[in-house]
Amino acid sequence: MSDAAILAAQVAALVILILVNTYYLSRRNRKKDHALAVTGKALDATVQFLQAMNELPLGLPAQDLQEHLWNRLQDILRPMRIRSRLWLLDVGWKTLRGVGPLAGQKVTSQHLPMGACPALSGKRSFQHTRGKNEPCASEQFTYGKHLCIPLVDGRESFGVLFLAADSPKPWDAQELHLFNVLSQSIALSLQRRSMFDKLQEKISELHFSFEVGTSALSAFDGSTQSLKETTDHILDAVLSVLKVDRVSFMEWHEDEKVLMTRCTRGEKSAEHIPLRLAWGEGIAGWTLQTGEAYWAESAMGDPHFSRGQNELASLLCVPVYSMTREPLGVINAVMLHQTRHFSIREIQFLTNLSRLAGLAIENARLHHNSRENIHHLNEVNKLKSEFLSLVSHDLRGPLTGIRGFAEILKQQTMGPLRPAQMEMLDQLERQVEHQERMVDDLLDLARMEKGRLSVFPTETDFMQLLKEEIDNASITAKERGITLNLEKHRTLSLSKVLLDAGRLRQVVWNLLNNAMKFTPEGGQVTLKVAADHDNLLIEVHDTGAGLSSETLEKVFERFFQVTPGGSKGAQGLGLGLTICREIVQAHGGKIHASSSGIGKGTCIRFSLPLKNTIGQDVAA
């Protein structure tokens, strides 16, 4: 071989070497460039992705957010010829729900069982390459390869990111890295969303609790008012908390054994046709029978729904019982147009409220009854007072006539009278006076029932008053053979005492006549007066029938009568001492009765406080 040839060969070898080298170098660079590009793209994509997610409003409905996530994903992955799909956990349905449309799907279902994808349960990526292993159930198209990456943030799983491409060539590390970054970004967005949802939930729970509290209070608020107001309050509380279309209260009528609509509140409550259900009939009747809340999302299709009820979508019923577990009725919460799933929390709320409602309704009923009773009693009392006034007025009318004509006769202008006739006329007049006093007693009783009997004190010569009353009584005393005494103790002048003269006359007259009534012939009735600087003391003492210790306590009670053995029997109305006590008390005084026992006489003693300016000391 020539040197030249060797050289040429060497050069050629070198060139080849260089070329090979260059080729390899450039290829390595290209690979590096590719890796760099992929990494850069991933970075860009992540930044863009996160930015886009950040711009979304927090309150965006979950479904819209998921659509957005998928769209962004598509923007990044479509240029790389990668198909993607989000399989997200649906807690309510306990499935994986597909987000993002795919043409030519193998499986048309948008829902997969939770265990369908090994990536979710294993929390690890699952990779399928055609010919190497079986595809997972989330693959709904025939791809060359697919990759499932769990969407996990911390401990929380949100679902699976499904990626697929036609080429069976495995993804390289950079691509896998990009996918991981994307999946983490998605998980982050979903987690943010879920936290927001939880916060919302907490807020609404708080709000709900607050409203429950308020409604509980307001349920009781009306219970001192009428039954209608009470139930209205309760129903309004239900309306505001549950946000249903209409609520009604059906009352259980024990006597007729029917459940009838009592109050309706909310939408078109006026158009609501009142219901009449038997025990156990319809959803409300069933609720009352079982004693538990009952709800039907689709009410008209419910087996307990009875025909003839009003059109409605969803229904929640709770029974209302009294404290003693007697059925009071049913509260119905109704959705009229859209069906609604009532949450456990809402059902519990209504169940709790129904207990309060039971209390409130019972309370209102009691109030109503007692108010009615009080009203009735007041009416009766008023009637009685009116009757008394009328009767006493009408009783007095004829007395005017009797006395008037007696006096005319006594004037003898119609002709002379014999002494016996004259005496009879005197008797007649005294009977009139007695009758008049009794009528006055009746009137006084009517006054006492209206309030306190009022007294109008004026300056009075008290001794003169007593003397006149003794004089008046002496005629009766003489007739009955009773000795009347007036005793004055101590040396106080009683010529200017401040008291109601008419009323005091009434007291003295009553006491004297009472004493004479129960004193046998030959007995004595003594009126004693004494005074010191502070009090005027008056005592009426007799030697008559006396009182037992039990009757002593009762003599001042209204209509109390003593019918002692051998006496003429009860006379009068049994009001005299009651009125005496009232008059004495109206003067600020005290009265009490004492007796040494049956047959040993009675003593009624009263004291009146003397005002300083009235009583005057006089030398004996």
Binding site: G397, T400, G404, Q411, S454
Partner: protein, 155 residues
């Protein structure tokens, strides 16, 4: 006699005239011009009217009416020296009548005496308030009536 409820107001005037005639007729001793003091009584109870008439007839000229419906006319016609009023009267009660008298006859000396079954302190106070000069309650004693009438006519 009936209670005057249904027959008024005509009854009151018709009843008034015969009463006067009767009064005059029964006092033949009186001169053609009667100078005795004149008393007008308004009471719806005929028994009460009769009794007052019997009690006062001998010494006074008595005019009777069962309601106060035509009271102003009667007052102008007879110009009584004293008016005795019941309180519970149909249509216009005694207190109202007293008020009317006090406003219409301010100049004249026309004292008003209530003679009534109303014994409430409030009624007594009302009587005073409307300008009455006396207050007697039914059933009344003749001596009390004489005393009050004399006192008021002397004033």
């Amino acid at each position: 006699m009936e209670s005057g409820y249904k027959h008024l107001p005509m009854k009151s005037t018709t009843e008034t005239s015969p009463t006067i005639e009767q009064t005059v007729a029964t006092n033949k001793a009186a001169e053609s011009i009667d100078v005795r003091p004149k008393i007008l009584i308004v009471d719806d109870d005929p028994v009460v009217r009769r009794i007052i008439l019997e009690l006062l007839n001998a010494r006074y000229q008595v005019f009777l009416a069962s309601t106060g419906v035509q009271l102003p006319d009667l007052l102008h016609k007879h110009m009584p020296n004293l008016v005795i009023l019941d309180v519970m009267l149909p249509w216009i009660n005694g207190f109202e009548l007293c008020r009317i008298i006090k406003t219409e006859f301010q100049e004249e000396s026309m004292p008003v005496l209530f003679l009534t079954g109303c014994k409430e302190k409030e009624d007594l106070l009302t009587g005073k308030e409307v300008g009455a000069s006396g207050y007697l309650t039914k059933p009344f004693y003749a001596k009390d009536l004489y005393k009050e009438v004399e006192r008021l006519l002397a004033a």
